[in-house]
């Protein structure tokens, strides 16, 4: 405890005899890491200051947004929502069969559990944009490769969340169902699903939110949606159109966030 006038500094001393040295060493290490990263990423305040006029010039070209252009964005905006919807559905359909095998308490064998977890990790590990690039190459330009990209990446995400929620359930009812002679699928339907359904719906809604956000940028690699218009307008130096695109995207994402958070609150309240 260190007294500073009428105040005392209350910071827990670490256990052992090292005292404050531990904190000092940690702080020093953190500073070193970020200094090293700053050199690599060329973080520089002076560069930011130097670039400020250019940024303000760019922003002034975006102003005022071209409201006429908004009418043209209706179709791509709807397409974005459609991509997000099907991306979420595909992710769900792919995740469900995998998640039971990837849950420690239901998996038939530890090897199956570890294998399935790795499969999910790989799916999750590849970014949507990279997946979209691959699928655009495979099936051509348009919204469908976007759906596939969101579906595959989302399946990795949902599968992991689903499996973890299964691991958290009360094991008792499962044991009870097994002792009635119920088969494994009956045990899942009557013992597992009723216990995880609310958590799953919340995660799916959250996934839809994320997918919508991702779908707005998928167009940049030619995978459909409003991102395509955004990149197009920038390439044509129509910055006022770009501004409209950005505003529409912001409104879409905020609306989706609002609706899905309301829905999640409503479901969780109903579920207790």
């Amino acid at each position: 405890m260190i007294g500073i006038g009428r105040y005392n500094l209350l910071v827990a001393k670490s256990a052992g005899n090292e005292g404050w040295w531990k904190y000092a060493a940690t702080a020093l290490a953190l500073v070193a890491v970020f200094w090293w990263a700053a050199i690599g990423s060329q973080v520089s305040l002076s560069e930011l200051v130097k670039g400020a006029p250019w940024i303000s010039d760019f922003l002034s070209r975006m102003f005022p947004p071209n409201w006429e252009f908004a009418a043209k964005l209706v179709t791509p905006a709807i397409e974005t929502v459609q991509i997000a919807l099907w991306g979420t559905l595909l992710a769900f359909v792919l995740a469900v069969p995998v998640c039971f095998l990837a849950a420690r308490n239901l998996s038939p064998h530890p090897a199956v559990f570890h294998f399935m977890r790795q499969v999910l990790n790989i799916m999750r590990g590849i970014n949507e944009i990279i997946l979209a690039l691959i699928f655009v190459a495979a099936v051509g330009l348009g919204p469908f490769p976007g759906v596939l990209a969101l579906g595959l990446h989302g399946a990795g995400m949902l599968g992991k969340f689903f499996a973890e929620s299964i691991e958290d359930i009360d094991q008792g009812p499962i044991e009870a169902l097994r002792s009635t002679g119920a088969g494994p699928i009956q045990t899942i339907i009557f013992g597992v699903l009723p216990q995880v359904v609310t958590a799953w719906i919340a995660v799916i809604l959250y996934r839809f939110e994320t997918n919508l956000r991702q779908a707005t940028v998928l167009g940049m690699v030619g995978a459909g949606g409003i991102g395509f218009e955004l990149v197009g307008s920038m390439k044509l130096f129509q910055y006022q159109d770009t501004a409209t695109c950005i505003l529409v995207i912001v409104v879409m994402v905020m609306t989706a966030d609002f609706i899905s958070s309301k829905l999640r609150a409503w479901i969780q309240q109903g579920a207790r």
Partner: protein
């Protein structure tokens, strides 16, 4: 109805059950009495293979019970279980919880789509009536009190139309009044349908009140076997080494049982239980 010979169960180095032999007749209400950790639960769980025995053999209704797929299905169709923490599925309705007792003997694929044979629904309703819960059939199970949940647990067990019910500390989480009520439903089921009941308890007075026969277990071995009126102080001392009050209130005259070899202290009165 149930024949257990030289049953042994080990968890790693820990011996949970050692050389347990006993037999239970059809329609009998047997109480297994013992302190926590004595091996009562393990004994029941070995009978329906929720725990796989390490040695010995168990016969249910004359058939050797085995842990393979077909053996499990056969055993679990004949043997129902009731749990201390009820283990009802919280978000299902009471009726559906009872219906899960019929899952083993109905078309599986139809049940996945929530299609149940009318005959099975009738059985479930009848079982609910027997525990006087029919008015709650459509209520969600997590809205019930503990005693009501356990009655649903009993109805689920009855819905299996089992030959044997294993009850693992069915009233340990309930108050005395509710406990008696729940045990009475169990007793009634046993009498009316000729179901064999093996009930784990740790309360001596319930054991005296409901058990036709009492088996005392301590340290993984059977240390007593007899009628309720034979439960003398000396016998209780054997079942509860260190006293009924537990280690919290030390009892002066009792010779302390060495913790390292809990079995040695009562190795002498090892009973051979071959009646039936």
């Amino acid at each position: 109805m149930i024949e257990i010979r030289n049953l042994t169960k080990r968890y790693g180095d820990f011996v949970a059950l050692e050389d347990v032999s006993l037999s239970v007749a059809k329609g009998e209400f047997v109480v297994i009495l013992g302190a926590s950790g004595a091996g009562k639960s393990t004994l029941l769980r070995c009978i329906n293979h929720l725990a796989e025995p390490s040695g010995g053999e168990i016969r249910v209704n004359g058939e050797l019970s085995r842990g393979d797929r077909a053996g499990l299905r056969r055993v679990r169709r004949n043997v129902a279980m009731i749990f201390q923490h009820y283990n009802v599925v919280p978000r299902l309705s009471v009726l559906k919880n009872v219906l899960t007792g019929r899952l083993g003997s109905m078309p599986a694929v139809l049940s996945w789509f929530q299609l149940f044979p009318r005959a099975d629904i009738d059985v479930a309703c009848e079982c609910l009536r027997r525990v006087e819960m029919e008015h709650k059939a459509d209520v969600r199970t997590d809205t019930l009190s503990g005693g009501q949940k356990q009655r649903v647990g009993i109805a689920r067990a009855l819905a299996q139309q089992p030959k044997v019910i294993l009850a693992d500390e069915p009233v340990a989480s309930l108050d005395p009044k509710t406990s008696r009520k729940v045990l009475r439903y169990l007793q009634q089921a046993s009498r009316e349908s000729g179901i064999t009941v093996i009930c784990n308890l740790h309360q001596v007075d319930y054991a005296r009140e409901f058990g036709q026969r009492i088996i005392g277990v301590a340290g993984g071995r059977v240390v007593f076997e007899g009628r309720p009126d034979e439960l003398s102080e000396e016998v209780l001392q054997r079942i509860y080494p260190g006293g009924l009050e537990g280690p919290a209130t030390p009892q002066a005259p009792v010779a302390p049982v060495p913790a390292s070899t809990p079995v040695a202290a009562y190795a002498a009165p090892h009973l051979v239980l071959e009646q039936s």
